[in-house]
Amino acid sequence: MSMNEFKPKIVAFCCNWCSYAGADLAGNNRLSYPADVKIIRVPCSCRVNPMFILRAFQKGADGVIICGCHPGDCHYTSGNYYTRRRMALLFSMLDYLGIERERTRLEWVSAAEGAKFSQTMNEFVEAVTALGENKRLEDLRCKE
């Protein structure tokens, strides 16, 4: 590993009931994924405001992933259905503005899917690393 290899900053919003527990399970099973991923716990994926995602990019994130319960399994019955609509429209809009679509992702990870959590994060980090630094949604003031 060379010293100046690009290490992306990844913010992962995980719902408390499924995906955060899935991440814990990945830990229990020692299923590794890059340390570039930092998790923020939210009660439900529907708590994730598009503003949080844009803010992450503004402050220097290179990728943002949102993880929630599988459709139909939401602890709050319907929260993730709203998430799905909001993110479908938001991601499509970001794509429309010419921002790389691989920088945002929504995944359904259950509390039992530690392996899926780890695999998803590995894939996501790989995809974002391939894109390189986030230039299109950056705020120059927040750069070094």
Binding site: R85, R86, S92, G98
Partner: protein
């Protein structure tokens, strides 16, 4: 040229005033020139006779004014609504933003409104603009008469008019029109067909002109928040100017997202932008996506309908597929 004349509207307003149905009239007031009409609340027949205008420059959508105007007196206010204004009217009703009982809405036909910015590109030093047949004749200070076709003079939103039908009114003047299968998404489709690099360059060129005057927001009938997040220091995203190119994107993405599923595509945002940014291309992207992802939905078409972003089905499209669909597959 509008098929309904100013005199008809004035007469209607005076008769409703004298019958006591309404105690004031929200209308357009003549300005200094042929084109600079101002929204104005007329209180009596004299003022109406003197200053009321209705012509090809009455583009302002009055629906939003009702939010402020309704509380001002016990009586009803008369409002004239063009077909596209009625969609905003319904949407505001859906969101409980004004008291329907305090309004008397008269639907009026519209033959498209002229865009003074577009006319200025063709004619400088305008001393008078008159409708002439299907187009316009612009008398200029230095270049004589300049003739403009409808396409050269009408606002983009009117050339791509989505509906001649009034979806809300107490009374209708003239014949009811139809919903139009317009080409309003062609601009969005053209962008979708570009590469991401081209799209990024396009939007950079457009949004970098933004001066954050907030005119788009302040005129928007979907933006009636008591306090906008961008004005609220507690929101964490408040700002008064575009201090970094990121903020122009933040402002316009969030604004478009906040009105997604609620935007009636009235086009006021693009009309008022002092920097000519085609802001409707953002809102229309959301409208087109919503139609493509969740089935056709026109905000305001039906009062009290459930907007797509406060609704769901268990079979909705996944975001990854949605983004791919934006490549033009859902054209």
């Amino acid at each position: 040229m509008q098929r309904v004349t100013r005199d008809v509207l004035v007469q209607k307003a005076i008769s409703l005033l004298s019958a006591g149905t309404v105690d004031r009239v929200l209308g357009w007031k003549a300005g200094e020139f042929s084109y600079d009409v101002t929204p104005y609340v007329f209180k009596d027949a004299e003022a109406l006779k003197a200053d009321f205008v209705f012509d090809d420059f009455c583009g302002a959508n009055f629906s939003k004014y009702l939010v402020k105007e309704c509380g001002k007196s016990e009586g009803k206010v008369l409002v004239f609504l063009k077909p596209c204004d009625t969609y905003s009217f319904n949407q505001l009703l859906t969101e409980h933003r004004f008291d329907r009982e305090k309004v008397y809405a008269v639907g009026i036909p519209c033959d498209g409104m002229a865009d003074i910015t577009k006319i200025r590109e063709k004619a400088e030093g305008i001393s008078e603009i008159t409708a002439e047949g299907d187009g316009f004749c612009v008398k200029t200070l230095y270049d004589g008469d300049v003739k403009l076709t409808k396409e050269e003079a009408l606002a983009e939103r009117c050339l791509n008019c989505k509906s001649q039908k009034h979806v809300a009114y107490d009374e209708l003047l003239g014949e009811e029109g139809e919903v139009i299968d317009s080409g309003r998404f062609t601009g969005v489709e053209a962008l979708e067909a570009m590469t991401p690099d081209e799209r990024f360059a396009f939007w950079k060129g457009e949004l970098s002109r933004c001066i954050r005057c907030n005119a788009c927001r302040d005129v928007c009938p979907a933006c009636t928040c008591e306090k906008c997040v961008f004005d609220n220091p507690k929101s964490g995203v408040e700002n008064k100017a575009i201090a970094d190119s990121f903020e122009e994107k933040m402002f316009h993405i969030i604004r478009a997202f906040h009105v997604a599923g609620r935007c009636t595509d009235c086009g006021e945002c693009s009309r008022v932008c002092p920097q000519n940014i085609p802001l409707h291309l953002l809102n229309r992207k959301f409208i087109k996506d919503i139609n493509g992802f969740y089935g056709d939905y026109q905000a305001g078409e039906e009062a009290y309908s459930r907007a797509p972003l406060v609704n769901y089905t268990t079979e909705d499209i996944e975001p990854a597929d949605a983004v791919k669909k934006g490549d033009g597959e859902n054209a």
